[in-house]
Amino acid sequence: MTPATVLDLPMSPQAALSRPRAFVELERVTHTYGRGERQVQALMETNLRIEEGDFIALVGPSGCGKSTILKLVTGLINASSGYVYVAGREVGAEPVRVGMAFQNPTLLPWLTLLENVMLPLKIVPPFRQEYRAKRKSEFRDRIEALLSQVGLAGFSNKYPWQLSGGMMQRASLCRALIHEPQLLMLDEPFGALDQFTREELWGVMQELWMTRKPTVLLVTHDLKEAAYLANRICVMQARPGRIIDDSAVPFPRPRTIVMSYYPDFTALTQRLREMIVHAQPAKEAAP
């Protein structure tokens, strides 16, 4: 663990070298989309450190670069400038298993639920080799177990279009988790669900995190969700996107939905809300 004081030091190259790297580290990352006049600065000189096994939520107004951070950390896009490190290496080269769940379930319609969840095991080492060495039935049992953990027991042979949106999203979470990722990226995975399904899945997510301890980066619009799930909440500002607040969530685990109505919980979400609302004018000021 890095001493907290080091965090406040200015980033000189020497300091960056001498300091042990966090599991995920963004170092003065700037990212712009497009070119010329239509250029949009999504992220501006952003630093972020995530320790292994931590659960971070990114909140902020739309267009503040939350999803950009996720895409940078997974290597789906490359930073315009600055460095992204995962497990001490520049992103892309790291031997880290990554799981990702998106706002849409993005299940492959020609595969059954079982086959969809099986997909990462066909791709990601070391499971890839084991898959070829026909440990398929073992994998199948594992998938069935995970599916029943999220309430999808008995649906493994259904096709995605035969299921409701909530069920597809559950399956999508399973697909993000089946290969035991060390790093889990959640891009508003509960955003399109009704409130009750959402709250139920928060519980499932918390349980999964507590048993497996992956490092999680959750992007969300829902402040209650962030406060319920995360250990740390980073508040972002829009255009240019940057992190303006980074605070720990003190509530003990396992957290419950009832806790979310306690005064200190609502006080936290209230404070986050204020911060995001005040972060808005910057958006108007910079065209």
């Binding site: 290597g75 993005t106 020609w110 997909l119 791709i123 990601v124 990226m185």
Partner: protein
């Protein structure tokens, strides 16, 4: 189920009705068989001269299927290339459109020059006629793959080949099968063109000889055979299509396995 049965019976009745009307009109207006033979005459010709027609039909089926198979092979390869690479798309597409705009009858003599008259030019003509729809459809299917589906794979650090096999190709399957239905009829056209121009075997050749001796019922018998063969292959590929791409139509039979 009852409704489906009624629909099938209705369509069958209409198809039979078409031939009945043809028969009746020919009889009613006294059309001579040298102009337009009646369906019954065509069938009689077909049955009575079957031993003579059969080797030609076999030759045509053989040529078409070989050309079609080659067309699928190269069509899918070129389609994958064009659909997954920007450069190949920019270079390949204009070339392909230009090439397919050339009337294929004009190409047959060139093939004959290169390979001599016979089966090879017919196979090649069938191939180049059916390759275009396959390439275009496979390329379209790959190029329109949802970026989100690719992101799922890229987040898993999948290679380009992994993405192609697990996402691109299955996604392109409905497009591919749609193109096969067009392509298989095109392959027949290609074969028959080549057989009419330069061959001593095949339905195309048979029809050439029959029409030069004004044996019109035999010409129509040849046409009938071609039509039946075309419908047969079409049905075959429709059958495979439902099995493979039922997900795209959210077909419940497909979901039952």
């Amino acid at each position: 189920m009852n409704q489906q049965l009624r629909r099938r019976m209705g369509s069958t009745a209409l198809i039979i009705g078409f031939f009945v009307v043809w028969e009746v009109l020919c009889l009613g207006f006294g059309v001579r068989d040298i102009v337009l033979p009646r369906p019954s005459e065509i069938v009689i010709t077909l049955v009575s001269r079957f031993p003579g027609i059969w080797p030609h039909a076999v030759q045509t089926i053989y040529t078409t299927l070989v050309g079609f198979a080659l067309g699928i092979l190269f069509g899918v390869l070129i389609g994958v290339l064009i659909g997954s690479s920007r450069l190949a798309y920019d270079v390949g597409y204009p070339l392909l459109v230009g090439f397919s705009s050339i009337p294929k009858v004009a190409v047959v003599p060139i093939f004959v020059l290169w390979f001599g008259a016979g089966t090879v030019p017919a196979v090649l003509t069938a191939m180049i006629l059916c390759i275009f729809p396959i390439v275009v459809n496979v390329a379209t299917g790959l190029a329109t793959t949802e970026p989100e589906l690719e992101d799922v794979m890229r987040a898993l650090k999948a290679s380009k080949l992994d993405i192609l096999i697990n996402v691109g190709l299955p996604r392109a399957m409905p497009y591919f099968f749609a193109s096969l239905k067009v392509a298989v009829t095109q392959a027949f056209v290609g074969t028959v063109i080549a057989e009419t121009v330069a061959s001593n075997k095949g339905i195309g050749n048979l029809m050439m000889i029959a029409s030069s001796s004004f044996d019109v019922p035999l010409v129509f018998a040849g046409l009938l055979i071609l039509a039946v063969l075309g419908v047969g292959l079409y049905v075959l590929f429709s059958f495979i299509e439902v099995r493979v791409t039922g997900w795209a139509r959210r077909n419940d039979e497909f979901a039952m396995g």
